[in-house]
Symmetry: D3
Amino acid sequence: MKRIAIYPGSFDPVTNGHIDIIRRAAGIFDLLVVGVLNNSVKKATFTVRERVQMLNTTVALPNVEIKSFSGLLVDFVQENKAIAIIKGLRAVSDFEYECQMALINKKMLPACDTFFMPTAQEYSFLSSGIVKEMARYGGSLKGLVPECLERVIAEKCAISRSEVQKPSLP
Amino acid sequence: MKRIAIYPGSFDPVTNGHIDIIRRAAGIFDLLVVGVLNNSVKKATFTVRERVQMLNTTVALPNVEIKSFSGLLVDFVQENKAIAIIKGLRAVSDFEYECQMALINKKMLPACDTFFMPTAQEYSFLSSGIVKEMARYGGSLKGLVPECLERVIAEKCAISRSEVQKPSLP
Amino acid sequence: MKRIAIYPGSFDPVTNGHIDIIRRAAGIFDLLVVGVLNNSVKKATFTVRERVQMLNTTVALPNVEIKSFSGLLVDFVQENKAIAIIKGLRAVSDFEYECQMALINKKMLPACDTFFMPTAQEYSFLSSGIVKEMARYGGSLKGLVPECLERVIAEKCAISRSEVQKPSLP
Amino acid sequence: MKRIAIYPGSFDPVTNGHIDIIRRAAGIFDLLVVGVLNNSVKKATFTVRERVQMLNTTVALPNVEIKSFSGLLVDFVQENKAIAIIKGLRAVSDFEYECQMALINKKMLPACDTFFMPTAQEYSFLSSGIVKEMARYGGSLKGLVPECLERVIAEKCAISRSEVQKPSLP
Amino acid sequence: MKRIAIYPGSFDPVTNGHIDIIRRAAGIFDLLVVGVLNNSVKKATFTVRERVQMLNTTVALPNVEIKSFSGLLVDFVQENKAIAIIKGLRAVSDFEYECQMALINKKMLPACDTFFMPTAQEYSFLSSGIVKEMARYGGSLKGLVPECLERVIAEKCAISRSEVQKPSLP
Amino acid sequence: MKRIAIYPGSFDPVTNGHIDIIRRAAGIFDLLVVGVLNNSVKKATFTVRERVQMLNTTVALPNVEIKSFSGLLVDFVQENKAIAIIKGLRAVSDFEYECQMALINKKMLPACDTFFMPTAQEYSFLSSGIVKEMARYGGSLKGLVPECLERVIAEKCAISRSEVQKPSLP
């Protein structure tokens, strides 16, 4: 039996923290399916297609597949015959929310367990939101996102930056 | 002197966690007034009228009254001559926010105390937000909300589901 | 039916934070039994007799009784026909431990609920341990413990202070 | 060498908690620059000009300057030749977020350190958001914001209050 | 390549929470080595031999081995050619400590990752310490520890109970 | 007026995390007094004399003084005419305890404020306790403690290691 795990997320955009989790989780399971959430409620900066492409560009491991999904995570888990969900954990606030999610997913799909991986120390401050905030103001993304994505992420966020209303103070 | 307590909340929608707190708190006080917050700032999925009705349909205890209120909680407490505010607590993040609220309410109305009740173990993952998220994607609400409300909640959330834009990825 | 609650603790020694919780909880229940834990494992600074006496000296409310107990809290709750356990909460770390205790007590005695009361703002830093540490080094206990107990607490802790080995540095 | 620190924030509106931090931090550094963030993404209730004016009206310390800034905090720190960032901390949730910010700022500008000051006990429940919520419903702001600002804050929040849709329940 | 994981702990005594983690982790790895820590500093209630035996009596999965170890966890991981450490997580306080341990173990042995599994909901209050405290006072262990161990755990803790000094209050 | 700060601690033993805080705090104040606590209650592994010497060996900054103290921190603060207490913060659990201490110290000595510095990212897992645990089992201390102290710390902890009873399992 092949052991399959899902690593779900928004990846809006991909960070080095995500890549680190993918690499480590891929060492444990026979197949790791990275699931890019197409959230119909919360608007993303990058389209699902762009986010899938960013991951495909960066990750070149034989036992990792990049897919998008919408709807309930447990449905996606079942479609992929996965036995585990992988989540990265940075902080206590992550932990509480993710524990609640793990409990409700366990209730809906008892055969599937959630495994938490602590974020590598050098990425403990890193999130997609922080990357976007830095890019918006022209901060360097070096070391925060995969090198091959630095430019595309900086440009996309700079676009939405120009749309922003000018500060009203002289 | 009749001992009156207020159990305030959004109840958007009512969950089995809410019903459990109501039942337990009603065993301690002479009268428990469930206060449905009509929050003019944060838009609710269910109208106040619907939320009051959901509670009335489900709760049939002689010493529980369902009311709606808007404005400051301490004003509602005074109107009802209550001596206590009841809040359910699930997680550490709840706890910090609710402690701040309890302190400010105590400052404004020193005669009224806040009592926290830990959520029953089987509902520790349960919130109105999670119920709505599950209903939106057609997940089962069995065991999460009162049986008599399962259908009305599922339908209401399914309506807002159809309004959602279709995922753009093939 | 008389509504009886238990407020258990070590009270080693009594602080103004304890007295504040007792006064507020006594306003909600018909009878509040303060249960002084005679913990056979963890050695206390004050004897159970002294701790019961400290509470009797300070609390003069008609519907409050001071008792000592050993063994399981739920047994003491049942002996006293109580329907509620009262605990004061200061910090997040209190909260987690007390939630676990509340869950296990609920499991053993489903008819009894735990209610948490947030410590009054002015006592949020206060614990029996801090009182002892301050008394040991001759710090003032004014405002930390009931005025009538200041001297007895200071003297008791000063005794154990003299037993302490002298610092070895010149 | 003059030791300069930055105390950044939204100050939307100024509270007594902010004033307390300013006063205490000004006792440690040669110059404290209060930086009012002109956040182009998150809409504020008060304009940057109003927020700067509120601080100027209230703070009259010789070594405190009030400025506004937009963009990255570390750029503002460098422009002002500051060696430290000051943040007030109320709760555990503040702490985690601020630690992440401190780490990323340290990474971008290693020469600058973040110092946290615990909020004074009497303001531990106080935030700009709570002030606005209270003002919206006509609650008293006494003791929460500087006396000279009570009226202007109450009026501004009352304006946005009248714009709010009327509750739909009779 | 065989994927081997270590599940380390004191197991003093074994609880149903431990057994649940073992069963779930064994479904993910080719071999799960349960490592019973022989801690020379912190005295245990049960001997290492007894703890290993308790686990052997209860766990009958073909890909689970029970071993004892002393010294550094990373040395034990290397001896067993394991690629992962499994830890169960109950609460926020667990989480922080275990994250620090995971970081230091990662630093010492970069090839080995720590995976956290959230404790099953029905065991979230359960720890070895609570089991011992309940057994000491004659509380029922039903549902807390494996059925076949109830008696031996109750008896061992009752022995140390008799050794305890009698309460001094009449 | 000279601005003086106290950095108190047990330093049992000194770690690179301590040294990092000392270096950064010394950049802010005119004089930083490192206060080595001679705790008469909690027994230390290293004598006060050894701990003072470890700091003197490692720290060679002109505006840093190493002293030992016993008794209340606020008394030591006053003796040194300090206006600030510096504490390093690693985790949420540190934060809560240190906030309580800061509040009680502020109450006893209103003229003195506590400043928290977040531990540098690379030392977020590091504590004196972890250093001792690693040294006890022969783990490398490289990068955890100042290089010049590695040997003396390893030897001291190895001594107490030999005293430990042999594991009883064959």
